[in-house]
Structures are given as C-alpha cells and as structure tokens.
C-alpha cells in the first residue's frame, strides 16, 4: 500500500509538487495521470526515496519514506523514467546485480532471475551483452531488475514510453498478473487510453496538484464526458478555477 499526504516539493523557486495526496491500495493498479511537467515523476521519486519532500509525508506499507528509506526500498520495486541498464553486463547479470544489492544470496538471486527471465520471455537475449538490446529488451531487463526482490509495491514511471504495441501488451499482462498476486501497483502515464485500459484507480495531477481521484468511470462522470480523454482535458484545463467542491465530490475516500 502506498500513501501520500500533502506532498510538496520545491526545487529552488520552482514548485514541482504543490499538493499531492492519494492512496494506492494493494491488489489494485493505480494510475498517476497528468500532462508533461505535472509532477508525476517527482512524486514517484519521492515515493521511491530518491528525493526528499519539502513537506508532507509518504508511507509504503505504513513505513515512513522519509524516516526509514532503507526499509522503504526493500518494499518497493522501481522502474524510473528512461531507466538504463549496464551495457557491458548481460541482461541476467544486470538483474542479479540488483538482487545482490538487495541482499539476496547467490542461489536465491539466480532462482529469482531465472523466474523473471521466463516470466518476461527474456530467455532469447538474457545472456547476451546488453549493449545491443532493443528498447523493449532494455525495458524488460529494467523491469525484471525492479522485481528481483519480490517487492509488494511496484512503482513505474511512464513504462510504456517508446514501446511497440506487442511490448505494451506484454507489459499490461505482466501488471495484471502482479495485481492478481495482491501487489500494489502505481504507474504514471500521460496517455489516457493506457490508463483507461489498465487502471482500477486514477489520480489526475496537473501543475503539481491532485485535481481528481476515482475510477475511470467516476472520472468520466465527474467531468460529464463520455470519453476519458475529454474528461482529462476538462479536469486538467479547469484546475485554475479552483473548483474544489467538484473534486471533493468525486473522491472515492
């Protein structure tokens, strides 16, 4: 379970995250939806302990992210935006290296890596130097690396960026599989269709502020639009008019 309460993050004079509060439940896929520069990546970076919030707090399985980053990191698997891998190692070595950093023993990390290689259908390239990997192969490696320690919470920042249809499909089935195992999955995207197809809950962020929360259906109703994309534009575009009541009305909690 991932929880954010009143997150604020400033970089000098720039406020990247103004007010972000939401909750991502176990066994559900929660989408963080917003235009470019809305503060999605910054929010995910705070949740993954890479950045410290200026104020507010975040909890992973009730562990405070700011107070106990090491414990937090054990509970999360993170796929950052544009995640890179080490080109001179093979895919499998990349995965096992992170297993070792997570404190897994040799046999344990070998076993887990083999599992992930077959789950993600990587056996064709997993033992080749990662230098010549395609975008999709790199993403699979980075994903397997994020899952090596069997985390209960999975954070993905724009995972479908630059992937072809086939790769997006296999990613989707992987995420639904992870959901079926009762994990908490939080992923960010600026693609409406993506979110509509996959998410149980959606958190809409614009200009560093959560402007709406709910299921895809609720959001459509909220903006009185049948199309989620229209609803999104409506919600994001009207954030300046400070229509707090309307947002509160659509809240699930």
């Amino acid at each position: 379970m991932i929880e954010a309460k009143g997150l604020v993050k400033r970089f000098g004079a720039v406020t990247a995250v103004r007010e972000v509060t939401f909750r991502a439940e176990d066994g559900r896929i929660t989408g963080l939806l917003g235009p470019n520069g809305a503060g999605k990546s910054t929010t995910l970076r705070i949740l993954s302990t890479v950045l410290q919030p200026t104020s507010g707090g975040a909890w992973i399985d009730e562990v405070s992210v700011a107070d106990d980053p090491l414990e937090t990191r054990k509970r999360i698997g993170v796929l950052p935006h544009g995640a890179g891998i080490y080109p001179h190692l093979t895919g499998r070595e990349n995965i096992e290296y992170f297993g070792e950093l997570h404190g897994l023993g040799r046999t344990e990390r070998r076993r887990r890596a083999a599992e992930l290689v077959s789950l993600l259908e990587m056996s064709e390239f997993a033992d080749r130097s990662a230098k010549g990997y395609s975008q999709g192969e790199r993403l699979k490696t980075a994903l397997a690396r994020a899952l090596i320690h069997d985390p209960r919470n999975v954070l993905l920042d724009e995972p479908t960026n630059g992937l072809d249809v086939m790769a997006v499909r296999s990613l989707r089935s992987l995420l639904t599989g992870l959901r079926a195992e009762g994990r908490c999955i939080l992923f960010s995207s600026h693609v409406m269709q993506e979110v509509a197809a996959l998410c149980d809950d959606v958190v809409v962020i614009a200009a560093g502020t959560v402007v709406a929360r709910g299921t895809p259906d609720e959001l459509r109703g909220l903006a009185a639009r049948s199309d989620l994309e229209d609803a999104f534009v409506q919600l994001v575009g009207s954030e300046s008019s400070a229509n707090d009541e309307r947002i509160a009305g659509g809240e699930r909690r």
């Binding site: 970076r45 993954s48 302990t49 890479v50 990191r73 993170v78 544009g82 190692l89 950093l101």
Partner: protein, 392 residues
C-alpha cells in the same frame, strides 16, 4: 556480502569487459610512457654522443677576406660553404633554415687585423632553434679560440708574457654523482607515474556520477536498500584497484626500459632493482584513494559525461603543480613539503632512485597526510552522492 564489495566487484567486472576503455586506462600508461621515455633517452644520447665530433657546416660570406681564420676552422672539422650573401641575405638564409649559421666577414676585417684593432666578424644564428644551438656555440668557441691565439701571439711579439692575460684560473669541479645526473632525465618520472595512475581511475570516477546518470542507471541504483555512501565507496575502491594495477604495471615497465636504456653510457646510474621498484610503487600507492575521490567529486558537479571528461581531464594537472613549483624554486625535501600530496611522493621516489636513506619521519608524513586526505575526500564524495541535484 558487503554491498561495498558487491558494487566494487561489479564495477571491476564491467570495466574489464569494456575493452576499449580498459586498454585506454590500463595499458596506455604502462606501454606508452616507458616507450616515450626510452625514445627521449635514446634521442638525448644520440645527440650527446654523436654531435661533439661531427663535422659542422657553416656558410661563410666573403671567404677570401679571412684566409687564416678559414684555415683554422677547417682544421677543426668545420665544413665551410662559400657564399656571397649580404646582411639581408644572411638573415634570410638562417631564418628559413637553409643554413644553421652564417659567418659574414665585413670588408674592414683584413685592415683591422693588420692594424691590431678589434676585427669585426658577424655570426648569424637563430637562438630559438634549439637544434642549431650546439653548432653555433661550437663556432663561437672556435672563433674565440682563434681570437685568443692571435692576441697571445701579438703580446709575445711585443715581448709580453701571454700568461698576463690569465688573471684567474677557474677550474670546474662537478660534484654531481652519476645518480644525480640521471635525475635530470628522471625528473619527469614521478609526474608520468602519477598521471598514468590517475588516468586508470578516470573512467570509473566519472562513471560513478555523470556516467550512471547519463545511462539512466543512477535512479534505479538509488532505490536499492544500500546507503548511498556505500555505493560510492564501492565505486571508489574499484577505481583504486585499477589505479594500483596501472601503477605497478607502469613502474615495472619503466624499470625494464631503464635497465636496457643504458643510462650508464651517459654517465648516469639509476637504482631500479626489484626492491626499489616495489618501494617506489608503495610510495605512490596512497595517492590512489585521494585521486579517485578527487576526480569523483569533480565529476559529481558536472552535468554530462562529456563535461565531466573535460573537467576531470583538467584535474589531472593538479598533481603536477607542486612538482613544477618545486622544479622552478629548486626546493629540497623538508618535513613540511612531505605533507603535500604528489610532492611527498616525488621526493620519496627520487630518494629511492638515488639510493639515499629516507628519514622515517618523511615517510610517515607523506603516507599519513596523503591517506588522511584521501579518506576525507572519499567521505566528501559519499556526502555528495546524497545530494538530490546529483540526479541532474
């Protein structure tokens, strides 16, 4: 497994696989530096041995105005080339490199010689042309000798003892031992060793920050349950391992080259047996953590790998500064100077090559200070890895 060792092992493995940068960082120094060194020594020796007695070419304008002088020069193995150059022509000929030296004999020469007044001679040479200096100074010496002989003959003709001209008799006593003299050649040695050692760690030092960031692997790395300092320490240790490997390879290769270079023929000896090779390497080793941490810190403040390469490349000059300073000031090793990293090592290695005893205090100060600074900078590098701006 300690995460520091995990990181170190992975960095070493990855660097060994990256063949191009491995060759650049590890083999470049040990192969190229001794080769360069051997070449310089070989050229110096050829220069020294070959040129003292070699025939020397001088262009002479108006040869017939000074037949006796010409005969004298010919006796001393000077090949005289007859020309009819005027002042402008002589300048031009030297500047364009057609002749290294042109001797112009003015019309008044014969008259002045006969009347016992100073006879004018004009020697055109290019003092910025290093290769011509030896030749022109030889010509100058021969001319002076000729003048002095004439003067003595004149005194004798007037019944004056020519010894009156020698009011003092100076005798040069060179107290430099052969080992001292070789130090002139070997002065650059520590510099080269330190430079190649730093270069071996450069790639890894940059990779720890700018490299990881540019590849997009920094952020995932920061989400593993390992303290950020430990990640840096692992990378620094890997860099140190490569630097020490390069150090021992460079020094061994140099020892072999110097052994066969035949410095003795130049009247130089250098103490480079296996023991002194080991001692020299050991004296330079404390510089590894300091250098690795310093380069990592510099790289942490850059935005891209390319930028990091530029700035870290410039920091390679830093250890050369104290050496240049000492060279210019002609400083002798004192306890205080041993506290300066790279300078202390320079003095220690110099002492070892001279086979001189090393005061234990000097050894202690150099090792202690360099290592302490290294640990301090490693700590700073670890702190920097915790900054959020590291992500760029």
């Amino acid at each position: 497994m300690n995460p520091i060792l995990t990181v170190m092992r992975k960095e070493v493995r990855e660097s060994l696989r990256d063949r191009r940068s491995f060759f650049a960082s590890i083999l470049f120094g040990p192969v190229l530096v001794p080769a360069m060194f051997a070449l310089i020594i070989a050229l110096t020796m050829r220069h020294d041995i070959a040129q003292t007695d070699a025939p020397l070419e001088v262009a002479v304008s108006h040869f017939d105005r000074a037949p006796n002088l010409m005969a004298r020069l010919s006796e001393h193995n000077v090949i005289l080339i007859r020309t009819q150059l005027d002042d402008a022509g002589a300048r031009e000929a030297v500047r364009t490199g057609r002749f290294k030296a042109v001797l112009l004999i003015p019309p008044a020469y014969g008259q002045q010689i006969r009347s016992g007044a100073p006879a004018p001679l004009r020697l055109y040479a290019d003092s910025s042309d290093v290769s011509a200096q030896r030749d022109t100074s030889r010509v100058r010496l021969l001319l002076a000798q000729y003048g002095s002989t004439l003067a003595r003959l004149r005194l004798m003709a007037r019944g004056v003892d020519p010894l009156l001209l020698d009011a003092v008799a100076v005798e040069d006593v060179d107290v430099a031992t052969p080992a001292d003299r070789s130090l002139v050649v070997l002065g650059a040695l520590t510099l080269l060793i330190v430079l190649t050692m730093l270069m071996a760690g450069l790639h890894l030092a940059i990779d720890a920050t700018a490299g990881e960031r540019e590849r997009g692997s920094l952020e995932p790395l920061l989400t593993v349950p390992v303290r950020r300092e430990q990640l840096v320490y692992g990378k620094l240790l890997a860099a140190c391992a490569f630097m020490l490997l390069s150090l021992s390879l460079t020094i061994s290769a140099l020892a072999i080259v110097l052994h066969f270079a035949g410095l003795e023929r130049l009247g130089m000896t250098v103490n480079l047996g296996p023991a002194s090779v080991l001692a020299s390497a050991a004296c330079c080793a404390p510089l590894a953590p300091l250098g690795a941490a310093f380069m990592t810190i510099v790289a942490a403040y850059t935005r891209t790998y390319r930028e990091a390469q530029t700035y870290v490349g410039l920091t390679l000059l830093v250890p050369t500064l104290p050496l240049m300073f000492v060279g210019i000031m002609g400083l002798k090793p004192t306890a205080w100077l041993m506290l300066i990293p790279s300078l202390g090592q320079h003095f220690l290695v110099t002492r070892i090559l001279r086979a001189e005893p090393i005061p234990p205090l000097h050894l202690l100060l150099s090792f202690g200070m360099t290592l302490a600074l290294g640990v301090l900078l490693m700590w700073v590098a670890g702190r920097l890895y915790r900054r959020e701006s590291l992500l760029g």
